[in-house]
Amino acid sequence: MKGLKARWPVAVWLLFVGICILLVSRIQIGADLNAFLPATPTPAQRLLTEQLRDGMVSRLILVGIEGGTATHRAAASRELAHRLRDEPDFLIVNNGETGSLDRDQAFLVDNRYLLSSAVTPERFTPEGLRSSLENALQLLGSPAGAMVKGIIPRDPSGEVLHLLEGMSGQSQPHTEEGVWMSRENPRALLILQTAAAGYDIDAQQQAVAIINKRFAEVVQSAGVAELQLRLSGPGVFSVEARDNIESISFNFSIITALLVSGLMLLVYRSWAVLAISLLPVVSGALAGIAAVSMGYGVVFGATLGFGITLIGEAVDYAIYFFTHLSPGRPASQALEKIWPTIRLGVLTTICGFAPMLLADFPGLAQLGLFSVVGLIVAVMVARWVLPNLVFAGFAPVAPTMLGSRVIALIAKAPRLRPLLLIALVAALVSIALHRGPVWSEQLASLFPLSVEKQQLDQSMRDDLGAPDVRYLIVASSRERDAVIELSEALGAQLDQMVGDALLTGYDTPARYLPSLKTQQARQAALPEEAELRASLRQALVGLPFRDDLFEPFLQQVAAARSQPLLTPESMRGTNAGLQTESLLARYDDGWRAMLPLRGVTDPDTIRKTFERADGSVVLLDMKTESDALYDSYVREAVALSIIGVLAIFILLFISLRSVRRVATVLLPLAAAVVITLAILLAGGQQLLLFHLVGMLLAVAIGTNYALFFDRESNAEKHDEDTRLTMVSLLVANVSTVMAFGMLALSGVPVLTSIGLTVALGAFLSLLFSAVLMGDRVAR
């Protein structure tokens, strides 16, 4: 009975782990982007967030086809585009083929009297018609005459031409063999827009998979094996980043587990120890992920990435436990003596990470929750579960043997004090003299891409004439038609500005879908057939046009007078409809129209003209806004870290009740942080969130070291436990440095930053604790 009673923690733990596994197996991994978008944004931030999450820019996929001859690439581009046009996952598939423009032109021709802004009653008076006809005559005489003569009998007033002119100004990519080709590189190009929003990584992944599959079919049926597919764009990057983080997290966990296990085996010489040494870490990680998944619904890839770093501190608990096992006492009491110090260490870490829970950025908040829950679970497992899992009487031999050597080393450490002082001063000077930004200033730095990927993306964007939207006018209104009316008003002003060379062009949903009011007004401007016929006859006097030439015009105007008005529904499935759809979106609070601007030269004047106090019209500068967003996010992370540090101060004062002791505990940590920072900056790195997180983790781990040193240097007598504690610190430190050193070598920018910071910070914390407190511990 007693045995059973003593083992209840194991039962509870098993049940708990079971539940966690169940929860973790069902987690949804979210796009990292969302992790760094604030939960309570400003209006501009919210618009930016919407754009980054599901705006048309986020749905862009750039496709390059390389290899083979230009003819092969052109054929593959055509074939791929053809296949993708049948896929409902893509709204727009464009490869520069003229065929795709034909459909647009048919739409323009059929709906010209509803779409053309030139349709006014004056245009159909004898004078208006006369002027149109004279223009038409001149056009017929020009080299373009052969192109336009087909439409003149239907459209002598030139509405189609007027519409086409409104659309020009868009710089067209270079065309070869009838499709878009890069000028600089042997590459055919396509632009796709996915139906799914950019933040929906699962859907983006599916879209990428479809492209790959269709491309494989194209290559197979063409029999040209050397063709290669290159993809780029926000969605593609998110998919790759997620795969990357997932696979690296997994591989890193395995490698670290192997390394730490090897260390355990070396030190403790026991397979049993090996088997259970990772239990606190694994339980903590599971609990952390489960907690985040329950609290937030989705877990961000980055949280998982950070999560694996929990190994850094949680594995230490197992090490403390095993080192303190000795034949003389039951396993359950191994940690009894040092428990207050461990507990204080855990509390310190919690103080450091808990403020993150308050973060407005879900990414930071998740990190806080993950760390706090993970650590509490890990330490509890080490304290109450592990003792029940080791067989009675097990005690490692090596720690005892290592003990005296470690103490001897520690005794010598204080000799390094002058060196520490010099290093500290040098580090402070180097930080003070540091030039260039300390913090990386771009939102993009949160999602570091390899240089190769960045170059590919830039090169494809250059090839395609940069659909790299920076300036966007966002108009909002409750009703769909009202927002289109607003776009029309904005368009009129923008036309003026294009004339004044403030910008080169713009897109608007009103281009293909004028408001109902406007369409009705245009329809009303068309005269009755008899009246038009009379006016035309008058206008034609003295002009060389054949009689009856404009019969089609008369008929089509008559038909247009009762033509059904354009609605998004009636346009569905057409190219124009799809483009309109991408510029018009419905949100919880109403409708938004997006008017991307091209070739902006004077954003300030444009802003002043358009910005309305009620926020219904906003000129969104995606770059400035996203940098500002990143800035506010860095500031929040730093502020919360400072709160965490203050909380640690207070906690230490309450626990240690001595200014001197608090100072001796914090001094080695401060020195470690300063020197680590100096090394990172001197190495040319710009600090990212990941460095900050790494620093927090290093401080959390280092606090444990410093607290143990403090405990022993204030103990009345030193015994075997002192030596064991010191050995456990060394083993813990070696495992941390090993694990994070591996991470630093991973080659993934995010993980390298964390790995380097923690490995360096933790090692220095231990070294400096020994340097500053070693004499009292080893006396």
Binding site: L140, G145, K149, P544, R546
Partner: protein, 184 residues
């Protein structure tokens, strides 16, 4: 030495068959020229031909100007990929890339003037007939879309000088431009 060789070659060519290479070389030697033109365009939709006249100016390798003075002033300046058309108060700038048909059309004249056989061959299948003093270059568009608009272009000339350009459009419309050397 070189001069004599050329003179002898010139005499020989006076009567001999005149090749495309030779024509192109001859054209390429002209670095700039200016001329006046009169054009008549016969269109099925018009009761009478459209008449126009004006000046032409060419500067090697890529600049070509057509200034129409009658019946209405209109200027058309082609420079590299840029085509600038100005009539009355309106000025339009277009990139030839965007309008492949117009590109093909203007290239028939510009490439011939520049002696750029490669570009010419890109848009047209060509045949050259006649002699040095009286040659006819016939261009047939390669592109199907272009063929739907223009069926053939015939350029005739003498030495490095174009005398007429006849453009035959699908459906029977056609235009004839007569060029006479003037100015500089």
């Amino acid at each position: 030495m070189l001069c004599t060789a050329q003179a002898i070659a010139g005499e020989a060519q006076e009567t001999a068959f005149w090749t495309m290479d030779e024509l192109m070389q001859e054209m390429a030697q002209v670095k700039s020229s200016s001329a006046t033109f009169t054009e008549r365009k016969y269109l099925a939709m018009l009761k009478e031909p459209l008449k126009s006249s004006g000046t032409l100016e060419y500067t090697a390798p890529g600049r070509f100007e057509k200034i129409t003075l009658q019946p209405k002033r209109e200027s058309m300046v082609l420079d590299g990929d840029r085509l600038e058309v100005e009539n009355g108060s309106r000025k339009r700038v277009l990139s030839l890339q965007e309008f492949p048909e117009i590109w093909a059309l203007v290239e028939s004249i510009r490439s011939t003037l520049a002696g750029d056989m490669q570009t010419l061959a890109r848009f047209y299948v060509f045949t050259l007939e006649g002699q040095r003093k009286h040659w006819q270059l016939k261009l047939l568009p390669r592109d199907t879309r272009m063929k739907n608009m223009v069926t053939a272009i015939e350029i005739s000339g003498s030495d490095g000088q174009i005398v007429t350009i006849e453009i035959r459009e699908a459906g029977g419309d056609y235009s004839v431009m007569k060029i006479s050397k003037g100015g500089k």
